[in-house]
Amino acid sequence: MVYGYYPGCSSHGTAKEYDISTKKVCERLGLKLEEVRDWNCCGASPAHATSEELALALPFRNLVLAEKQGLDSIMSTCSACYNRLKVAHETLKKAPEILNRMSEIVGEPYNKTLKVIHFLDLISKEFGVEKIKESVVKPLTGLKAVSYYGCLLTRPPKLVSIDPDGENPTIMEEIIEALGAESPYWSHKTECCGASFALDRTDIVLRLSNEILKAARFADADCIIVACPLCFANLDMRQSQIASKYGINYSLPVLFISELMGVAIGMGNKELGIDKHIVSAKNLLKEKDLI
């Protein structure tokens, strides 16, 4: 089966390794990805804070392109992209007048045939946790990895949830445990990192990200696993700024779920792009005998 792939803008910048590792892992698992041709930005938070129509029209063009390309699904790796595509799709399914208006704005019809999914859906629901277990060649034994979902993967649960329990999702823990690692319960798995204020209110991002890193330390985690480029950027990239502001140097590696999967199915550090992190995960992986 072929899955439509919507990489999102960060995959060409701060989350290059997410794109690299996703493609490598899917290839190894036999999951065929086909990129949506000429995709555009989903609009993220600035669009829905500025115009209701724009917030739907930008993802709408991507849905239309995917459908025209003959794809029956569109898979995003980013929580924000997934959220915007899913909200647009669900809104249009329910409201024919909005669907008409969007067709007018974008100039193309949408038949609502797509399945809008996130990378975690692809791995857990389409591929299956049992099959992941069979694919593992290097079990992540002894690794304590907390799952961080952030906001947009699970909220609002009526529209977008990748997990039936929006407040306490466990879909990522199940994958991590299938890889042989431990993924304990912790307090901050669905707390906000402040992503949408990354540049304009960086102080808020530093405060919230500090709380998340602190909670992960408190849970005695070796690393934080994420499934979103924005969560990754705030938690990995800003650790040195957090250290100078709050006086705590966490040096806590943050890994994309696709990278962790790659390691467990026998791929190398560089092959997966893990060497591109600001907080190096190399020592941790060496210490656990994984690279």
């Binding site: 910048g13 000429d38 555009n40 724009l54 007018e104 704005i105 909220r155 609002p156 990239m237």
Partner: protein, 187 residues
């Protein structure tokens, strides 16, 4: 402060309910939205206060409030509201209405950021993070903001200066025009 209720009181509430497709009158002030809000300590009004102000029709106070501009759209309030009120959606509605009616944002950099972000998409179809950060720093005169991170990202090969432009830029332009978005230049 004494609030005087008059015949217009319900008009503002009705407008917001209509624009957002959320019935604001179902809010009964339990405060759960405020309890879960990660940004509440930075806000001028708590989310439940905003709901009450809308119900009371206090348009000026609501549209001049800092609160909508600091909502991170994390949707925790919406998820937890026992009455099913989509508070995050109301915050979007307030931001959009405030701009449309010419209210100055109490957090001008948030508006600048949104405008620069959207203008980049309008021109190129995709967001280029480096471009966004550079233009934002320039327009807000914070020339060395995040320079430490920029240097590290450059070393890791994550900073790209080449343009990531889609073919359908004409489609982008017409989408922006037809969507009637109130967009500034990020000045």
């Amino acid at each position: 402060m004494i609030y005087q209720l008059n015949a217009d009181v319900r008009n503002f509430g009705k407008t917001i309910s209509k624009l957002s497709d959320v019935d604001i009158y179902t809010c009964y002030q339990c405060g759960k939205c405020t309890a879960g809000c990660p940004i509440v300590m930075e806000m001028s009004h708590t989310p439940n206060q905003i709901m009450r102000l809308i119900q009371l029709g206090l348009k000026e106070e609501v549209l001049n409030s800092l609160t909508p501009w600091l909502c991170a759209a994390c949707e925790t309030c919406t998820t937890r509201c026992p009455k099913g009120v989509d508070i995050a959606k109301i915050m979007d509605t307030l931001r959009i209405l405030a701009r449309k009616e010419g209210y100055q944002s109490k957090e001008p950099n948030v508006v600048k950021f949104n405008d620069i972000f959207l203008n980049c998409i309008k021109d190129k179809g995709r967001l280029q993070e480096t471009h966004l950060a550079m233009v934002y720093n320039l327009k807000t005169k914070q020339f060395f903001k995040d320079a430490d991170i920029g240097r590290k990202l450059f070393m890791k090969g994550k900073i790209s200066l080449s343009s990531d432009k889609i073919k359908g830029t004409d489609a982008m332009k017409s989408i922006f025009e037809r969507s009637r978005a109130f967009l500034g230049k990020g000045e």
